[in-house]
């Protein structure tokens, strides 16, 4: 394998890693604040692609407007799920909210099957994103570069939001100590709704980037990216944003490099990711960047 081809795979891996990282951050943020695995996150991801799809085909929006529309509706969906299914169970035993999350995932998938139909649909890819650049022998698609640029901008915004704004401070406070934060006068409902809004926005953006890369959308498309991103979040240490990003990178690289170097084992890539997950859980249950739990 020549260095050029290797570099090409590397860039591909980085851009896929960013997509997984963005989804994983959605899981990690929600888990950090409400200590709940948002099983429906992968399905929110799936719904986002359909919102953009219908914004574009049904309402004849220009594609940039369709993207904004898609992200906005996805945020409403994410906040709505929290309001309807998770908030009533916030003080219930953990297993109840886990069941609610699984139920919501099941519900959203089936709503998608009934409303959108079970067949695959092709997602519109603007022609400007399918052009290929050749930089010193390395062939890179425009979408790969766009993914990296969008992700970096989103991550910078997110860092600013969490580190520099009052809402970000409230989120961090809730994730450190829920009860104390409540006593300090933090509006819990608003902060949690905000967390879900950010998580859904990230899911929507990563879903759009994903659909531009693999332009077939269908109701169960969120299952595997969702599961992989959650694995990424666990590997990185759930609750840690840097960890989620790192885990996403790791999975992106594993996925791309495996296909590149061992094409015959490509069918087993999720099995390999699974083994990786189990090993990490055994060796370091809090993940690579996770904080130690005080028991």
């Amino acid at each position: 394998m020549s260095p050029d081809v290797f570099l090409q795979h590397l860039v591909n891996g980085i851009s896929l890693g960013f997509i997984f990282g963005l989804i994983a951050i959605g899981y990690t943020l929600v888990y950090g604040v409400v200590k709940l695995v948002n099983f429906a996150h992968g399905d929110v991801f799936m719904m986002a692609t359909f919102f953009v799809f219908y914004g574009f085909t049904l309402f004849m929006m220009p594609w940039w407007l369709a993207v904004i529309f898609g992200v906005a509706v996805t945020i409403l969906l994410g906040v709505g799920i929290e309001r309807v299914a998770y908030r009533p169970l916030r003080d219930a035993p953990r297993i109840s909210s886990l069941c609610a999350a699984i139920g919501m995932s099941f519900l959203i998938q089936n709503i998608a099957v009934v409303v959108f139909g079970g067949r695959q649909k092709s997602f519109y890819v603007p022609p400007s994103l399918t052009t290929t650049f050749v930089i010193g022998g390395v062939r890179i698609q425009a979408i790969t570069i766009a993914t990296i640029v969008v992700s970096v901008i989103v991550l910078l915004l997110l860092t600013f939001l969490i580190k520099r704004t009052k809402m970000g401070l409230a989120m961090r406070a809730l994730s450190v100590d829920f009860d104390t934060a409540k006593l300090m006068g933090i509006n819990v409902n608003r902060t949690i709704a905000f967390t879900f809004a950010i998580g859904s926005a990230l899911a929507a953006l990563s879903a759009i980037l994903w659909a531009l890369r693999y332009p077939q959308i269908w109701p169960f498309m969120g299952v595997f990216p969702g599961w992989r991103a959650f694995t990424a979040a666990i590997i990185g240490g759930i609750g840690s944003i840097v960890g989620a990003l790192f885990g996403g990178f790791m999975l992106g690289m594993v996925t791309i490099l495996l296909v590149a170097f061992f094409p015959e084992a490509a069918g087993y890539r999720d099995a390999i990711i699974f083994v990786l997950l189990v090993v990490i859980l055994l060796v370091k249950p809090t993940g690579l960047f996770g904080e130690k739990k005080s028991r």
Binding site: L36, V37, F39, V84, A85, P88, L89, A92, R94, I95, S96, L98, C99, A100, I102, G103, M104, F106, L107, Q109, N110, I111, V113, V114, G118, V223, F224, W227, F230, T231, I234, G267, Y268, D270, A271, F274, L277, V278, L281, L282, P285
Partner: protein, 345 residues
Amino acid sequence: MDRRMKLILTIVSLLVFILLLWLAENYMDPFIKRIMNVAAIYVILGVSLNLINGFTGQFSLGHAGFMALGAYASALLYMSPALKATNFFIEPLIWPLSEIQIPFFFALLVGGAIAAVAGFAVGAPCLRVGGDYLAIVTYGFAEIIRVILNNLQNITNGPLGLKGLPTYTNLYWSWGWALFTIFFIKKLVDSSYGRALKSIREDEVAAEAMGVNLFKHKTLAFVIGAFFAGIGGGLLGSLLMTIDPNSFNISLTFQIVMIVLLGGLGSITGSVVMGVSIAFLMEFLRFVESPMTVFGLTIPGISGMRMLIFALILVITVIFFRRGLFGQKEFSWDWIFRSKRRNAE
């Protein structure tokens, strides 16, 4: 009411049930018989998942994976060599499997045993972390089994699946296993092991402090649950006559989880009642997927409507009726007669 009376009642009702099964097997039309078989399989799956999720409080989403293992392992053992040869036309089946044929009952047992081994393999490392992680890991496990079944062309026939399986499953097999599952898990739950399992559910730290070996009991629940899931999968394969990796997807696990949650986490009675109800509802709700006319409006049939209805019921149950139909209560003769007496007064 004394114990002997109850025992007699139990035996009598069992005999009546077997008589009904015999009547059904001989005189019922095949459509209803098929639903009754599915109902028995749902009972096996629901009760076995309830042992893990309900009684031990370890939330597993791996049932479809265990079922797939049981279905494939048993099918590969009870199929005749000739049938295997016609199925595997892309790549031949590897040697020892291609020649072996053993009776259905033993094939089922082997299928269950393999599922149990997988239950140990996935349960043992993950039970140390527990909680939400366990749900996600078992969920991943079930998907991985599907991936592996899709890729092992020379053992599982890949995405083509196995077709034309002989129909061994009948009401005696399915309900026989269902009754055995109920009996076994009821006895287990009432034994000292069962108490240990429930103590783990209530408070892990306290249970450990009282000397309950967490690892041993959690893996025990996992292995037994997986074993019965494997049996259920084997029965289902022989009933449907065709199995392929993608029919053991996450939707199947959702259906079983739904049975357990609607029936009540920690109630065998609940899982039995809901298992039977959902098997029948699945068939009788088919009308919502066919075109119909309401007040002069023709609504085209939408496939997937049934599952949407079930998903809605599940979510509403989880949010508003957290305990399900039975909570943690069980059927007993006392309960029946007490409520009768109350009605009479």
